[in-house]
């Protein structure tokens, strides 16, 4: 096919205008939220498996996931370690032995977990009792408020999640979190993972991470891993459902939360 310079420029001009037009249309539709619907419909029309990107039909659903940790049922070191180890294992958490460590769920002594409850003469049983610490999945999370990119966000079921691909690693969320729940990958974590579990993504250097209530397991219809191995010492459920297990234990037992005075509405309760 012969085309002269004039035709060539014409074609280039038209295709350029079309490209620009489509970019603008794309931009506008994403602003007005049309894009998502169109994309899903287009996927379905093309016979593509959109189910792969959606949660399983067995997915556990809730209005607000919450956890109650029954400290009375944690008796031996083994009780704590079971919960910690399973989490470390399935989430590919690196074992970095420095101040730049990564932690999702770990132990702190009672008075460190609840410093505002400071009481020198507290009962012996509680004095040095270890407490499991994890992200509180706050109803009003300061980390989400401060994040400049939306890399940390709250799902409809109340879980505060991380987008490891959007995080720029500014660590503002770590300054904002009043619970010390967040860890930053100061380095490539992969060499520090004993055995990589291919079912869960490893992270890259320069992003923040934390516990996400095993959102990936809930989406498959499974309970969070620590709950599963706790032998009933950790109760998990929908806080907004008056008939849920968690509402039952909370209504029958005395529970406390970490730093409730900060107004974050933490969703991890401790029965003491």
């Amino acid at each position: 096919m012969d085309i002269d310079k004039r035709q060539f420029l014409k074609i280039m001009g038209i295709s350029g205008a079309l490209w620009l037009g489509s970019r603008l249309a794309g931009g506008l539709s994403s602003i007005f939220g049309i894009g998502d619907k169109l994309d899903k419909k287009a996927l379905a029309d093309a016979g593509l498996e959109i189910s792969k990107t959606l949660p399983s039909v067995n997915a556990l659903k809730a209005k607000q996931w919450a956890m109650a940790i029954d400290l009375r049922k944690f008796k031996t070191q083994e009780d704590y370690q079971r919960c910690i180890k399973v989490c470390d294992k399935i989430h590919n958490i690196p074992d970095i032995p420095t101040k730049q460590e990564i932690k999702w769920i770990w132990e702190e002594p009672y008075d460190a977990a609840f410093p505002e409850q400071h009481n020198e003469y507290i009962e012996n049983q509680l004095k040095d009792k270890p407490v499991l610490i994890l992200c509180n999945q706050c109803e009003f999370p300061p980390c989400v408020r401060v994040c400049p990119t939306g890399a940390t966000f709250k799902r409809k079921d109340g879980i505060v999640m991380m987008d490891y691909h959007r995080c720029i690693g500014c660590r503002y969320c770590m300054a904002a979190c009043p619970y010390g729940s967040r860890s930053f990958n100061f380095q490539d974590p992969r060499p520090f993972i004993k055995k990589i579990d291919p079912d869960y993504p490893t992270r890259t250097k320069g992003v923040v991470e934390k516990c996400d209530f095993c959102a990936e397991r809930l989406d498959q219809g499974q309970m969070p891993a620590c709950v599963e191995v706790s032998n009933g010492a950790i109760i998990f459920g929908d806080l907004k459902d008056p008939n849920s297990d968690i509402r039952k234990v909370l209504s029958e037992n005395f529970s406390i939360r970490r730093k409730p005075e900060l107004g974050t509405q933490p969703n991890v309760f401790y029965i003491i």
Binding site: T98, K99, Q100, E101, I102, K103, E108, D111, A112, A113, P115, P142, R145, V146, C147, P148, T149, G150, A151, R166, C167, I168, G169, C170, R171, Y172, M174, A175, A176, C177, P178, Y179, G180, S183, F184, N185, F186, Q187, D188, T204, K205, G206, V207, V208, K259, L262, G263, T264
Partner: protein, 385 residues
């Protein structure tokens, strides 16, 4: 006008080459950080911001301080500032650039920095800080460059600059207020959770910034015989004296509230800074140096005899800059993380590569300042002759 930066004495070129070489050396350390990650810094899970963010905070103040020249000159038509106001505006440009670079080198994923603009989060103070800082950079570039160009052509500045100048006054206040809000709005950091934070920031900015400007102007006077005049120095040192007094007063307000209320959360960070906490005393000698130098600078600045004497003024200004730098560029950010949410102390010491990267960023700032001031002074000197 930029061509003025390409004609200079041998000394000027040696200085430029020295700065470029130093930037090159420091950039090497940044490349190490870029590949290895922030693990090469002294920061940790508990003290997750360090030297970089602290320098950022300090330099926002230096940038904002240009307003201390702009207000008298443009709002009160205080014409004796005519030879120094451009130096202030151009220093603000260098300072804001340093701020932006300090944020950049602090990022774990610097290649994703545009995500802040691609996914703007209006509820994040950091988004607003980025907005006001870049706005301030553009404002000062526009205003400084246009007014200088007009002067070179011996015509009055175009009328559209006036509204921008008024805007820049408010904007200067905003950059340091929003930077204070970065800290003052966090629920779990009692040391920062203070309504007076923005006021403290502004007070320390309005003494430290002009102090740095005066010291630099003295150096320039020695090197180029460009003299901003006696009177602006006198007026600026008065401004510095008032601002430093306010700065120390505000700090004492914090100390009173913390210690008289006797609330441990409010006391702990101060204890860590000035006495040590849980056996950690890393910052204690620095903080006392800061306190003593701060009071010493006031002792020299308040009596007119020592303030008007060139030698004692220089000593006072150096003491003031060191004092405020330790307070804001070292203590304030680190102490906010100490103790951590579990009431434990994790010490923080910047590492050698971290310090080199910080020096590199500052050197970029000095480079920009050198070029801009070279242009400004060349134009001004020509206008005089």
């Amino acid at each position: 006008m930029i061509e003025k930066a390409f004609y200079g004495s041998k000394k000027y070129w040696i200085w430029i080459l020295f700065l470029l070489a130093l930037i090159g050396v420091c950039f090497h350390f940044y490349l190490i950080q870029f590949t290895e990650g922030l693990k090469i810094t002294g920061m940790s899970r508990n003290v997750s911001w360090g030297l970089y963010i602290a320098q950022f905070t300090y330099m926002v103040g230096v940038a904002a301080s240009a307003v201390m020249l702009v207000i008298p000159y443009y709002l009160h038509h205080y014409k004796t500032f005519s030879r120094i106001v451009i130096l202030g505006e151009f220093m603000a440009i260098a300072a804001v650039t340093v701020c932006i670079l300090f944020i950049f080198v602090d990022l774990g994923q610097p290649m994703r920095v545009m995500n802040v603009i691609l996914y703007p989060q209006l509820h994040s103070v950091m988004f607003w800080d980025m907005t006001v800082l870049s706005g301030y950079l553009i404002l000062n570039l526009l205003i400084g460059w246009t007014t200088l160009e007009a002067e070179r052509k011996d015509v009055p500045p175009p009328s559209w600059v006036k509204p921008l100048i008024y805007l820049s006054v408010v904007w200067a206040i905003s950059i340091h207020t929003v930077t204070a809000f970065l800290y003052a709005g966090l629920p779990g950091r009692p040391f920062w959770l203070s309504a007076i934070m923005a006021a403290r920031f502004l007070a320390s900015a309005f003494c430290a910034g002009p102090a740095i400007l005066l010291l630099l102007a003295f150096i320039v006077k020695k090197l180029t015989s460009y003299d901003p005049g006696e009177e602006p120095v006198d007026v600026l040192s008065k401004i510095i004296t008032y601002a430093m007094s306010a700065n120390i007063f505000f700090l004492l307000l914090e100390v009173f509230t913390a210690f008289y209320s006797n609330i441990p959360d409010d006391i702990n960070s101060f204890k860590y800074l000035f006495a040590g906490l849980q056996g950690h005393k890393e910052l204690v000698p620095f903080m006392w140096t800061s306190a003593i130098l701060g009071l010493f600078s006031l002792a020299l600045l308040i009596p007119p005899q020592t303030r008007k004497n060139k030698t004692s003024l220089v000593i006072a200004l150096v003491a003031l800059v060191v004092s405020t730098w330790i307070d804001k560029g070292l203590g304030l950010v680190v102490a906010g993380f100490i103790p951590n949410p579990f009431d434990k102390v994790t010490s923080y010491t910047p590492t050698f590569p971290e310090v080199m990267i910080a020096i590199g960023v500052y050197t970029v700032g000095i480079f920009i300042l050198t070029v801009l001031w070279k242009v400004a002074i060349s134009v001004k000197q020509k206008a005089i002759s």
